[in-house]
Subunit: 194 residues, 2 copies
């Protein structure tokens, strides 16, 4: 009985810190370990929902890939195309931000996370598919100072997600409930059954 109360308290504490204004899109990321590591980071910063667009890679078998399954506590939405995904996000007033280097890219810490932002990360080798960039509102890059020109994708996602975490933390967003009451109650009911 005490254990049940503790569990409920833990779940409530986590739901109170959820940040529905931040989401992540994974586009054809190949390695399930990378997907799992990103989901774990999403859980840590309060992301509610992660979107998967797998148009040339197989959908990752997430549950088998990690002993610490963050996917249990994450809404994972699969889309048939990037266009479907971007339509969905735009209908919810998200800005779509592509992790992609071009002359217009802002740095990850210039992103204003007071807005609804969807961070898109592409395949390990190819990055975000070129033709999908037109569905994105802007691109961003992580500043690099070394000989190797790229980061592991789960590392890149973590650096961006924890920049959002810092902005949320400083502005007090973790100290007041961001979820609508009906969403909160629904999630609570749902998570208590897991």
């Amino acid at each position: 009985m005490i254990k049940t109360d503790e569990r409920r308290e833990r779940i409530e504490t986590v739901l109170k810190q959820k940040q529905p204004s931040l989401t992540v899109v994974l586009e054809n990321i190949h390695d399930p370990h990378n997907v799992s590591a990103i989901l774990r980071t999403c859980d840590a910063v309060g992301v509610m929902e992660v979107h998967l667009v797998y148009t040339f890679e197989s959908f990752p078998e997430i549950s088998k890939a990690s002993s610490v399954s963050a996917s249990k506590w994450m809404s994972i939405v699969k889309h048939k195309s990037f266009e479907d995904c971007s339509s969905y996000l735009k209908s919810k007033n998200f800005l779509i931000a592509a992790s992609h280097l071009d002359i217009y890219s802002k740095t990850h810490d210039e992103i204003d996370f007071t807005e609804n932002v969807a961070l898109v990360f592409g395949n390990e080798q190819r990055g975000i598919t070129e033709e999908y960039l037109r569905f994105c509102d802007f691109s961003f890059r992580i500043p690099m100072h070394g000989m190797i020109q790229s980061l592991n994708v789960s590392v890149a996602a973590a650096v961006c997600l924890f920049e959002a975490e810092k902005q949320f933390r400083i502005s007090g967003r973790y100290d007041s409930i961001q979820l609508d009451k009906d969403v909160f109650d629904n999630k609570l009911k749902n998570w208590l059954l897991k």
Copy 2:
């Protein structure tokens, strides 16, 4: 000939951004993929030297573990014991900061990277070995808001290293050479031969 000039220019650009005041200690990290990902992040933010303390795990076979070998551009120093490692770092006036959760832990973004700081990351399962904590000057933690209580170690390292990167970038440290002239010249000579 042009290629050689470009290569020299690239190496000089990277050496001009090196940050010798920041180093990393990896203590018994098991998975070579994690070690490789951390080395790649170290390269990206300008770390010069990484220390390995492997007292119960085997030394990682770094060169085989990554197709993008950041280890080529990193000084890797192996130590027989944590005490040896901490003596070495203290002789160079480094503060030793343990990634470890206790009631005294500061958050990673409360670390003042204007000082010489060595960030220590421990084994994936066990964290930093308890008895090594007495050699550390302080502990730090990454704020967590989710159901899962830990991050992948390469993700945790990246979040801290890019906090340092941000502090260096904002204070202009990447815009002026931080290496002593003899170290710079020596590294340049050495790297041109790679």
